[in-house]
């Protein structure tokens, strides 16, 4: 164990090339997945929160239920979709970072949609009458509500990023954990642990923790600045 830690610190201090390759790919895949998921999920959440149309309640239940999607099931479904004989096999996405981004998006979108919908719905309920009496259009109303809810929505994005960064099952299946191509931190930790190579596994685990702390600290600073301005 202590030898594992010593090796981990040597790798981090020595800026081990393989280690940082894995870290950079993880960051690229997860941040891209979360950004794209936000682009899809936030407008969808806003429509579910503010819109009134048939089937809305059913959609909300469905999205909430999808928050608990097992990653391996998502991985399997995408594997079948992207495999050579699958309907999207022609795209040749299997075992590429793009497939991993799509898998993480599928897992992050329900979480971000479901929680954002609640945040936006609550904020909308608070502001609706006030904005109507000020003469706001629907677009102005939605813009105001989204801006006012930005602090809470940032936390939702963090929850999505947490889900993406910590994901193993789906990216293992669609990415294949191929060295120098699709190996990310979580799949590498799983593999190296099973091989008994605790040094690399521990180093990756430590960096994963530090990365998560850094992102959360940055967001916390931003939020406290907003809160000071808003006193709310």
């Amino acid at each position: 164990m202590s030898e594992g830690f010593a090796q981990a610190f040597r790798m981090i201090a020595g800026l081990d090339r393989e280690l940082f390759e894995i870290i950079l790919l993880s960051i690229r895949v997860s941040f891209t997945a979360v950004l794209l998921a936000l682009l899809v999920a936030l407008p969808f959440a806003a429509v579910l929160a503010v819109g009134r149309f048939p089937g809305r309640r059913g959609l909300i239940v469905l999205v909430n239920a999808m928050m608990g999607l097992p990653p391996v099931v998502v991985g399997l479904a995408l594997y079948l979709l992207f495999s050579r004989s699958g309907p999207l096999g022609v795209l040749e996405l299997l075992y590429t970072p793009t497939a991993m981004i799509i898998a993480q998006m599928v897992l992050v979108i329900p979480i971000v949609t479901a929680i954002s919908r609640q945040v936006i719905a609550d904020m909308h309920a608070e502001y609706d009458e006030m904005l109507r009496t000020l003469g706001a259009s629907r677009i102005q109303m939605l813009g105001t509500v989204l801006w006012e809810a930005r602090s809470a929505l940032m936390t939702v994005a963090l929850a999505g990023l947490g889900r993406a960064l910590s994901e193993v099952g789906a990216v293992m299946i669609v990415g294949g954990n191929i060295n120098h191509v699709t190996r990310v931190m979580t799949t590498a930790v799983a593999l190296e642990t099973s091989r008994g190579n605790l040094g690399l596994a521990l180093a990756l685990g430590l960096i994963l923790l530090v990365l998560s702390l850094l992102v959360n600290t940055a967001v916390a600073l931003l939020r406290s600045e907003w809160r000071e301005a808003a006193h709310a």
Binding site: L134, A229, A230
Partner: protein
């Protein structure tokens, strides 16, 4: 509180229409089998302050929301003078302010009202002076005192240059100093050419402010009377009992 400047809500986009500013005919609002407003009909004159007076639960706030178009009556209609369509503003008893500075709240309202960007800072300064909030401009709106928040909400409602401003118990739970400031601001709004309906259950306040009184009791209009006559001798039994401190149930 320093004397406020009277500022016209310029440009005067809504000239005084002839006759009534607003006509309500047979307004009925029911909720859960109860009739909360039972067939109200009245007219609002084009200027001055109409006090809507009555005990708690008389239906004052509900009527105000119906006049503002925030809820649709089950029967009857509210007909606005064609000149003021779309220019009725409501400030609720507990106004909701954005989680922004005082200045941010007003600029947001001016933007929504469609005031061109180059004119916003001038209008902002006018509204701040009118509400005596210039020195608080950069403070978070939700950190203001109750009276200051109410004044901010009132001038924010003026961003649209309304012809009719509906104030729902703006001085409820405020101290006398803050109440005086709100009353002064209300007079400034009227002087600037805006009709005001001021909901209150405070007899003395209605007497200080009103040009006309609508007395509501149990979801019905007990009387609509010019203020001078009303405060000398109310015509309705309900208003007389209320004046004499009787418990109107």
């Amino acid at each position: 509180m320093p004397e406020l400047r009277v500022l016209p809500l310029h440009p005067p986009v809504h000239p005084h229409p002839q006759g009534a500013l607003l006509r309500a005919r047979g307004l009925v609002i029911r909720r859960g089998g109860n009739t909360l407003l039972g067939g109200l009909s009245f007219e609002l004159p084009a200027s001055g302050i109409t006090a809507m007076l009555g005990p708690n639960g008389a239906g004052k706030s509900l009527l105000l929301r119906a006049l503002a178009g925030l809820l649709t009556p089950d029967e009857g209609e509210v007909a606005l003078h064609p000149d003021i369509r779309g220019a009725v503003a409501l400030v609720p008893q507990s106004p909701v302010l954005l989680r922004r500075s005082v200045r941010g709240n007003l600029l947001h309202a001016l933007a929504i009202a469609g005031v061109p960007r180059r004119m916003r800072s001038g209008r902002l300064a006018e509204l701040l002076v009118m509400a005596d909030l210039t020195r608080c401009a950069e403070r978070p709106a939700r950190a203001l005192s109750g009276g200051e928040q109410q004044r901010l909400a009132i001038v924010r409602a003026l961003a649209r240059q309304p012809r009719l401003l509906l104030l729902d118990e703006p001085t409820a739970s405020l101290d006398p100093r803050s109440t005086a400031a709100i009353e002064a601001l209300t007079r400034k709004v009227v002087a600037a050419g805006c009709k005001v309906v001021f909901v209150t259950h405070d007899w003395a306040q209605a007497e200080r402010l009103a040009d006309e009184v609508i007395f509501l009791h149990r979801g019905r209009i007990a009387e609509v009377t010019p203020a001078r006559r009303f405060f000398r001798a109310p015509a309705s039994e309900a208003a007389r009992a209320y004046r004499n401190g009787g418990l109107l149930l």
